[in-house]
Symmetry: C2
Subunit: 338 residues, 2 copies
DNA sequence: CATCATTCTGATAACGTTGTCAGGCGTGTC
DNA sequence: GACACGCCTGACAACGTTATCAGAATGATG
């Protein structure tokens, strides 16, 4: 590996001049710059990041802390988004998994601070509210898919309320009047927001939301999530008057609703329309008929987080302390006009 | 941030002694060591990785290069495995995504080499054979889910042949004699291996494998994968004598087979047994009935890769240049005795 | 041609660590 | 008491870069 000295010697200039050229300092005569650049290319010189960072305290590295994001297929796009944005900015990404527990998280952040990352993206698997964050000096930080209750840290989350509102409105506009909700566990914040979007859409369109039209599709039972979507769907179907459409809290729930609908010998979308949430293509496209679903903009959330971090790193402020990312409705074949 | 000098001054020793204590050099008197350690804890000193790596050329960082692993839910466990193993070894993981193209890959590896990672894990989304690898000096490297045709680089891949053999044998042992294969595109290496395992299991159990019992569940069509599993299944079902079991190349294919079976008004597993591959729990557990499937040991592959890398980094050799990881059969409810 | 401002360049000192090597200090031996 | 030996410690250089600041080269002006 050639060093800056080798380049300087070969080019017949001082190391400082080489440093200037490499760092695009304009105070170098054009002829000198070109000459040095040629030698740099010739020798294949690249500055040593360790030495550079020791002097300048800039490492060109961002940290990504996740609770379990890598262990679930859902939100893995966050990683891709962060990764791609880093690459475009000539930066790298150091990733740490915390398994959601406090000790791991503190250790992870400490390690990243020691390694002098220039900023941290903190991403969670489920949308959740954070009570407190480990100390980390004045390092810029952006939260993805989570937020501080007091709004003290910039945060990027999907607009579950609006997404659910749009999905429900879509079904209403198709002519449906009797619509059921198969909700995510409302303990989960996303579940609560999606539920709210559903209800609001109903109200805004002059429909009423009766309690018997809302059932949980999954619940927590001794620490584990269990799906009860199939049973819940059967109860919808067996009711005196059965709904003509079901809005589902997730695609996984929707998949189970499909099973139940078929068990009763009914057809989708002829007898009943179904909408999902998450746009988990692996499921949505494999279902028969393909599932209309609301997409989570995870990739863009990751990208945006990096761009925010870079802005913060330059000392610039942010227009919005927290951003609600729109969740587009992806129309497939599981809904039809009534 | 306190430096080694601060510790030395406060402890009344030289910086070298502090360095020795921090690096667990045994040539320090116990009383000195304890004293220095106390001061280190007091000041909260941690060595600067940049300075350390500049001197010693060791960074404590491993690189993970993936083609699209982060963009697919399947193999994301590789990341988790690598990550956890790194954390346990006190190392960190620098991750780069190449989108599968050559230029990105070269750039990624070059960047990692410049950053002085101590080894590289190169992981791909689909099992594939690599023709050549970008130059990277003498940096240790381990391939995951891919391999060099000439075996020149240590590699860890799932044993698709044995996995498929086991799945097929399972069905045979359940009494099935007329078994069909809904294969992954055989252009994909995993498809070829799984197909081979299927056929071998049949032969080993004294059954014959007729061409009309093998159909592709997915094909490449102008650059994109398209699923034809549903149609293929219908043709199996509509044959003069219909098979009593179907071995599927992937869970995604199996899910479409479910759809087709239901379309014909048949029941799983009563009328027909089905096995999947990938053990993609999100699908396998959501199907009705839950799908028996072969698991891919991605997490362990990631872990093993790191342990190999560390061994290589210490100059130790490897027992096996390439490792076939067993794929355990996960039994659920989609198969039953005939 | 002298002067001065302007533009460009280089010597040298950091940054925080580890490696080299010399040396201090006990202890045991003759 | 002199000496050798082993154990422990410290002064200083080195790693490859950037920052400081002085100074050289250039060009403009009187």
């Amino acid at each position: 590996m050639p060093t800056i000295k080798d380049v300087a010697r070969r080019a017949g200039v001082s190391i400082k001049t080489v440093s200037r050229v490499v760092n695009k300092d304009p105070a170098v005569r054009d002829s000198t710059r070109e000459h040095v650049e040629r030698v740099v290319a010739e020798l294949g010189y690249t500055p040593d990041p360790a030495a550079r960072s020791m002097r300048s305290n800039r490492t060109g590295v961002l940290g990504l802390v996740t609770d379990m994001v890598t262990t679930t297929p859902y939100s893995v796009d966050i990683i891709s988004g962060v990764q791609d944005a880093c690459a475009e900015a000539g930066m790298m990404m150091l990733i740490v998994n915390t398994r959601g527990d406090r000790a791991h998280t503190e250790h992870a952040i400490r390690t990243l601070v020691e390694r002098k990352v220039e900023g941290i993206v903190y991403a969670t698997m489920y949308l959740r509210a954070l009570d407190e964050l480990p100390a980390m000096g004045d390092l810029p930080m952006v939260l993805v898919n989570c937020f501080m209750a007091d709004g003290s840290v910039p945060s990027i989350v999907p607009d579950d309320y609006a997404g659910s509102y749009a999905a429900t409105s879509h079904v209403i506009e198709l002519g449906h009047r009797d619509i059921a909700l198969l909700s995510v566990n409302p303990v989960i914040i996303a579940g609560e927001r999606r539920g709210r979007g559903f209800r609001r859409a109903l109200l805004d369109h002059g429909l009423t939301c009766t309690p018997d039209r809302v059932r949980a599709g999954q619940v927590f039972e001794n620490g584990r999530e269990v799906f009860v979507a199939a049973e819940a769907t059967l109860r919808f179907l067996d009711a005196a008057q059965r709904p003509t459409a079901i809005v589902c809290g997730t695609d996984a729930i929707a998949m189970r609703a499909y099973n139940a609908v078929r068990e009763r010998g009914l057809r989708i979308p002829d007898d009943i329309s179904i909408v999902g949430y998450d746009n988990f293509v692996m499921i949505a496209e494999a279902l028969d008929p393909p599932l209309t679903s609301v997409a989570l903009p995870y990739y863009d959330m990751g990208r945006t987080a990096v761009s925010w971090l870079r802005r913060l790193g330059h000392g610039d402020g942010l227009a919005e302390p927290t951003l609600l990312m729109p969740c587009p409705l992806i129309r497939r074949a599981s809904c039809r006009p009534l």
